[in-house]
Symmetry: T
């Protein structure tokens, strides 16, 4: 089974950005643990601050992999183009948010991308990624 985790804007700063909200572990460190937890799954990884690059990746992975875990960051709330990409591909997509988007500013409560994904995990920290992997594994 092969999946990819796609992280959107500013998630490369994880561990040094607003640590009270997002925690102080870098995503790379976390990814090592995650792969260790799921040795039977090939977990690809990509991060970009560019909306276009994220769409490119969804298009590439969406027709060949068994699942996509995406955290579109700030693009979740504004990008119809990204949502359209998610709707266009056959692979199941799980949207993950580290913080709880319904407990923050009003403009973070709506997610265009999440509405086109299969489901959303929000507010459970980095562990949300692990739960998403497990879900994909179970339905795989």
């Amino acid at each position: 089974m092969k999946i990819i985790i796609i992280n959107g804007p500013n998630l490369n700063l994880l561990g040094k950005r607003e640590v009270d909200i997002y925690g102080n572990q870098s995503f790379e460190d976390y990814l090592q643990n995650l792969r260790a937890q799921f040795p039977e799954i090939n977990i690809d990884y990509m991060q970009s601050n560019s909306e276009g690059a994220l769409i490119d990746q969804i298009q590439t992975s969406g027709f060949s992999l068994d699942g996509i875990i995406i955290n579109p960051g700030g693009y979740s709330h504004t990008s119809i183009a990204l949502a359209d990409a998610i709707a266009a591909i056959p692979a199941p997509v799980i949207e993950v948010h580290i913080s709880n988007i319904h407990g923050r500013e009003d403009y973070r409560k709506h997610t265009f991308t999440g509405g086109k994904a299969k489901g959303i995990i929000s507010g459970l920290g980095l562990q949300g990624y692990a739960l998403a992997v497990r879900y994909l594994k179970d339905i795989g």
Copy 2:
């Protein structure tokens, strides 16, 4: 470790209500599987169609148990009282929705209760409950 699953209005109809959206398994059947998956955890269960009874249960369980998994159904989108109850207790609360609330009618996209919960899992079917249990177990 002891937790409780609290299901809100109409979830007692699971398996015979709008099966294209909610699936055709009753929650009681699912609960058996869930308990089998997590034999080390004492998983209590309660369902009610009454907002007041749900608040009563949150208040009772919220000061004594190790976690609450709640699916407030239609009350998610309208009940400030239920959200206040969640905010009032020390136990971690995970909100689960079987269907993806961001992919349905506009009035289901906002969740008062979810904003006060620790996190939300939405759209991953009954498996969302299992992921919530796992999360509580991991942080327990």
Copy 3:
């Protein structure tokens, strides 16, 4: 043929509450007349101020009776949970309002429950119930 009339909050005060809007006949008195008009139909009756009890009754009656006439009162405008219950059952549901909800305050103009019912009769006084019974009889 067996149907039920379900009255929501404050309809037990009929006859002594805001008589210029709702008239001065109690619902119990009216019900006698109604049953006399339709002796061939078994007309059950239930009133509750509790949203949960109303949902319970819809769930119980909705899978066994030939029709439901409901006046959800103030819950019409706010209860997604009640609307979900109406959407979940096979029995035809007719929503009745004694006063004309489109001729009153703005917040009474929208009805969540009515949108899930088969139809709505609003503003025709207690006679609206009789018209609803007749409709159910005709399609019965």
Copy 4:
């Protein structure tokens, strides 16, 4: 007793327009049945696609007949002028909609004309007209 049924725009297409929503019976056919059901009532009929012609008719009938049954179609949601005409006349007006306006697009949920009518019957198909006649007969 003499009443009139006034049908607004596109109701002349009944039976050949969007039959899944409006059914496949023409209004003329239905009217024959209706008159047969109420032989003691003189039921006039008029249909127009013109807002002005509908207002003209309301003004003419509203001061001389015993009741008006109107289905303003699409004008229900937009015409203050038509609503003003209804408010200006002494005859009781019942608004009928074949489909359930609260169960369709958002822009059909508000009715200017219905707010000025005595009451509204919506979603009960062509039978809504018969119920309206019966109501007028009972209060006549």
Copy 5:
């Protein structure tokens, strides 16, 4: 000098419609007085309940007369088409409302047509027409 007064929907009912708001004098009676007040001005008159007929009249009069006084009634608040007609002609247009549109229901506070007219006189009863004539005479 030649002008026209164009009255919109329901103004033909003046004197017998909602007399507490609009007074009990018919417009025809008032028009006689008005013509007597301004014998030097040729005051044409037209009333219609039809939006299209009102637009037709504006187009006809708007290129040949010295001024138009219009009371578009309920169309004021909803008709972009009527407003476009007013914007399309060279003759000065004064919009008159018998009642004060800013002191009534919210939906009467905005006037599409008034925004394209030269000016508005609202709330001064039938006398508003006389003031409008005087204005046209003065700028004539």
Copy 6:
């Protein structure tokens, strides 16, 4: 007969402010003409940029004079306090706007004060004041 004209903020700049909208005549010059037109009426005058001073004046004049003509300028659209003052006095109040408030920015289309006045004359230039005087004279 004694009346007062009350001009609000920035109307003291008339004649040197945005002349394309408001014209190039000062109000003092105009007032001379106006008094000449109506020698039989005692026309008092007051201008202030202060909301409080305008309320003071309305309260003083409103219980003793035969009418008030007010142009509240920018306060029309924002001042509930000024509107309350107008509603509190027995003297008839006519609101005048030199430009057409419905033909300018959206925030000028609503008038709190106008809703409490007897009527509004808008867009007819300085002549609006003369028409208001005439109205007060006629009903005086």
Copy 7:
């Protein structure tokens, strides 16, 4: 004189819930003080998390007691049914909020129930109840 204090959802947690907002005294403790302050008044007390039970109590007390003091908690902002109950009874109703509803989240600024009550005391802590009792005593 006999009155009742009706406390809505989560007020049973007073003293152990969000103490920075609501203080750390339980309502039962406070009630003892209150009764001691007003020995001449029979002060009944009831708390429920159930909207229906609150409506039941209002209906029961509203026709027999001399006054009702209600803190509807989160239901204040969402319950038309509760507001209807308050409007339906003859007893004077005072709504009390411990915290200042206008100084918190936007969704707490509107109160359906308060609009139907005689008056509102908000933000004065538990002392608000004493002030409400005093008011009822004075008008009693």
Copy 8:
């Protein structure tokens, strides 16, 4: 192949109305050119300022012709009735606007009728009609 061009309110003024927006050619002149461009197509033409007459024409042409090109003018933005007529007929309908509705006032950006048409051509001047004819010819 037989089609019809239906022009709505104020389009009869083309060539003498707001020429900076709509150009200075009359539609009749343009129509000659258009017919010359497409000699093989029978292009009927109708213009009306009346919403009702436009609906009548759509109903008549919509069941017999091969296509309709409509420019509903100001009714585009307000008429649900016209939109319903377009939705009710089998003939393909192309909506044309001479000016770009998305580049003008906000109230012109939404088109009820356009949402029910097959497609929209907006802002390409009179040439938009020719493009619409060509489209109908190509799919004919």
Copy 9:
């Protein structure tokens, strides 16, 4: 203990303005009673129709007195500047409204100033001032 009562616009008309809403007692008369009720408290008084004068007074009193009771009248709903003044001072501020602001026009339901005050008493007539004094005395 020294406090001040600050009354905003139009409250000087109390007793002769809209007596059905505000009663027929002047504030000066009431103030005598109030001072008699609380002889141990030095109650200063100031009324102004000017927003600026009210801010001046809040600034002056807010750093020296033991409490402020303010009824900002119409400025409550519109004045951010007044709300900023209340937020800027150390003295506790109680906002009083004679009528129930939640039971009147929509534009009176929101209070900028009230959100910055310690608390609000609304709808309890002039007695609201006495309750506010008592509150300040108790916390004094």
Copy 10:
């Protein structure tokens, strides 16, 4: 004559994405036909999922080519930056949408970019591109 077609996000998936909405022909195939139809026009082509790349291309082509045909996909509804680019260049821009943006979700009905383009063709399938080319050719 030299023009360019610029396709935005997800249009590279044409033919394999939501074929019920967008059809099953790839854009490359269609482009061959298009060039064959217009051999006299040099039709450049570019597609990108990146908002920035689209802006770059508009800037490059907009000062040198004779016209731009753009389908900004999901960016149409959200990108002020792209709209600014269109407004900044001298070349005429035609916006094309394959599906009818007014007949889909509400968030697709508004187009920032379209408001700055010369015109819009929407809902006419791939043929919309051909019509746009023809238009550019005619005005070229």
Copy 11:
């Protein structure tokens, strides 16, 4: 060169009001430094809590001085009258806010006055005034 700094409501409290937002230096102290920085410029100063006095000052200074620096405080967000005054004068006006109005409450994000000023400097503390002086000096 002669300019004036006009400070609006509550800015006289600078240094003792919400020091975490506005800092603890009084404006008078700062003004001394400012004048020292720009000895070649005559910097007048005026502060008022009264909207009317601010308008008076703008009108007086706006026709004679070389520039105005204004911080309208809370009036920025609500005062159309003040904005009109700024639009009415020839002198360039720079609006300064000490805190960042876009980083605070939603109701502070819109500025009526700023929209009529030449420009805005917001969030740069007292230094914003110095930058504004420098700007005026440079364009002077």
Copy 12:
């Protein structure tokens, strides 16, 4: 001291785009002057039309430089992702707009990015950059 100026979409067109709004000087020319004005400061420069590239640059510069001056152009009003980047870095960020965003279209009045910046300078032309540099120098 080392800072960077980051210009967003379309600012590379400065001098040849909408010169009435943005002036006719290219940014490169201006930059030379600016560096000449502040020889002691190392002023880096970067422009991109890509949201992602702008975020990349903010992330790179935000942890190493002494300040960032950013003009996010059209992204200011729509990009939560860019705003998140600004919030994530320690360097002070000043947002500059050449034109006055509060004096243009409504959709330009809100700035997501500006709300996360330290401050905003808007409407002062290219000189806004110089003022921003000076500010950074002063606090540096």
